[in-house]
Symmetry: C2
Amino acid sequence: MGRPTMEDVARRAGVSRALVSLVMRGSPKVSQTRRAAVQRAAQELGYSPHAMARSLASRTSTVLGVMVSDLHNPFFAEVIDGLDVMAREQGFDVIINTGGRSPARERRALTSLLSFRPAGVVLLSPVVPSAAISSAAAQLPVVLVARSSRLSGVDTVNDDGEQGGALAVDHLVSLGHRRIAHLDGGEGSGSGARRRGYLTAMAGHGLPARIVSSEYTDAAGARAVRELLAAGELPTALVACNDLNAVGAVSALEEAGLRVPRDVSVVGYDNTALAALRHVSLTTVDQPRNEIGRLAAESLLQRVRGERAHPARHLLHPSLVVRSTTAPPPD
Amino acid sequence: MGRPTMEDVARRAGVSRALVSLVMRGSPKVSQTRRAAVQRAAQELGYSPHAMARSLASRTSTVLGVMVSDLHNPFFAEVIDGLDVMAREQGFDVIINTGGRSPARERRALTSLLSFRPAGVVLLSPVVPSAAISSAAAQLPVVLVARSSRLSGVDTVNDDGEQGGALAVDHLVSLGHRRIAHLDGGEGSGSGARRRGYLTAMAGHGLPARIVSSEYTDAAGARAVRELLAAGELPTALVACNDLNAVGAVSALEEAGLRVPRDVSVVGYDNTALAALRHVSLTTVDQPRNEIGRLAAESLLQRVRGERAHPARHLLHPSLVVRSTTAPPPD
DNA sequence: TTGTAAGCGTTATCAC
DNA sequence: GTGATAACGCTTACAA
């Protein structure tokens, strides 16, 4: 006993399958009586349309596929929020997949997503090789978030990391800091832009740059600070590659008996929920995550509807959120 | 220019559609030569099977649907990790959906998931009314995670909150604490069990219970501590309803000039990544999240395969993770 | 306004 | 092994 089908509804309402189809899609050219009869029959049977059969028959899809490289990163949750709302507003369903940060699993996830023949897909910070992306783009509209690309078939939505890095530096300089180091994100996605922003801004202020190699984790942030301490080169301010790194840096500083922000100021990046905790209260650079999601959905839908053929390259403006980890330098 | 179909592959490989179908499904009764030819043709065309057509024709589904009430909660990310791995091992694809913590959106998300006619669904901490769940359960196997239910058609997987609450109390008592308060999670899912565990354990030790009503947020934890302070009733230890609440409590204590754990000990619940941060280093109760996910997938697959008809009720054992926020009471 | 019939891309059942 | 042919549940001309 499978779920009820359109045929069942038609029989019960005493009409043809085609008419039920019209009613289900809210067509205006159905008489009130028939419409009511069909709706009642559907109700009684607990019928709801079979999305796959529908898409197969209509050769169209109202599904947007989303592949997230890492479900653990709350950054993506907010991007998806924006994306989901926008997609639903436009009548599209969203299905999500995850690649678990591994290229191999991500590849499988992408294949799996494509097997549903969605109208388009958005890839959140994918780590698959570029070739996999371009082969997907040959089949359907693709939007890349938090990863740049020069592929002509692909739209991209990114935060302007250069501007964000500069924002952090400018803030510290305006507080009076002159010795400002950058805890670098290394291979991490987007870290290059943040570093460039830091370098450019430092140069612009005529200040000497100091880059400490690090990573996107709190342990790495703490390690970087200890290195600085050991070398006796502690600056008065730190621009961390992200919030996690910044929090690690703060705790290493405090363990060394220094006070933040009295002795050293620290700026994070991302404005995650972590930064907002009263216990942390981190000054940080905020990315418009919701907006990123909305823009990704919008871009994708434009492509899906064939409203645009040339690639769109969105670069969003970050903003600074000042909390309690920055202050003028000592003396 | 539609995506390539099985027909295209067949033509290019010079074989029939049926043969391509066999190859795609890895049937053993295909000659090596033909198999290779088909695979090459598929490769060249960038062909991958159409999941919906397949499922429609075979009257079966290899898709597991997952509805997450809140994508922002990292707890679910780990549950999904376990679930995803297990499902893929068994040859099932996983598609995820989110309800954004709102019953209305969640309802739509559930309907949307069901429209794909998945083999089964797992609902992660759903907030939809019980009726919606039972009507879904009438159509396909349903597993509930982090929400209990007496519905006969659904399996449940939960952490034993009573045991967890007791674990926290026992730990504090063994350190010598006698005045231990509970910061209650109120309406939050699972908070009832945690509270009962606290109450039972306190009674077991012959200690007076003290419950402070609170919520699953850091602001609520801080507020609860301030109330305790204002009433002049600060105990020597706090059992918080979750990690976020605990962190809020810690910061309020520190703002009041008290030291954790020297003056007051605090225990969280969930062992989120937040608790593990060196800057936080919270003693907390850990739930086996991965295991929860695996079990959910396993339960669902048993139902899908018709291996079991009666409902399964899994209750997993939490464990205590001791970090730096607990110590013997002063004096 | 309603019904008929021909697909959509795949699997499944048989003969060959 | 291989190849027709009939489903699967639905949409969509086209007819009525």
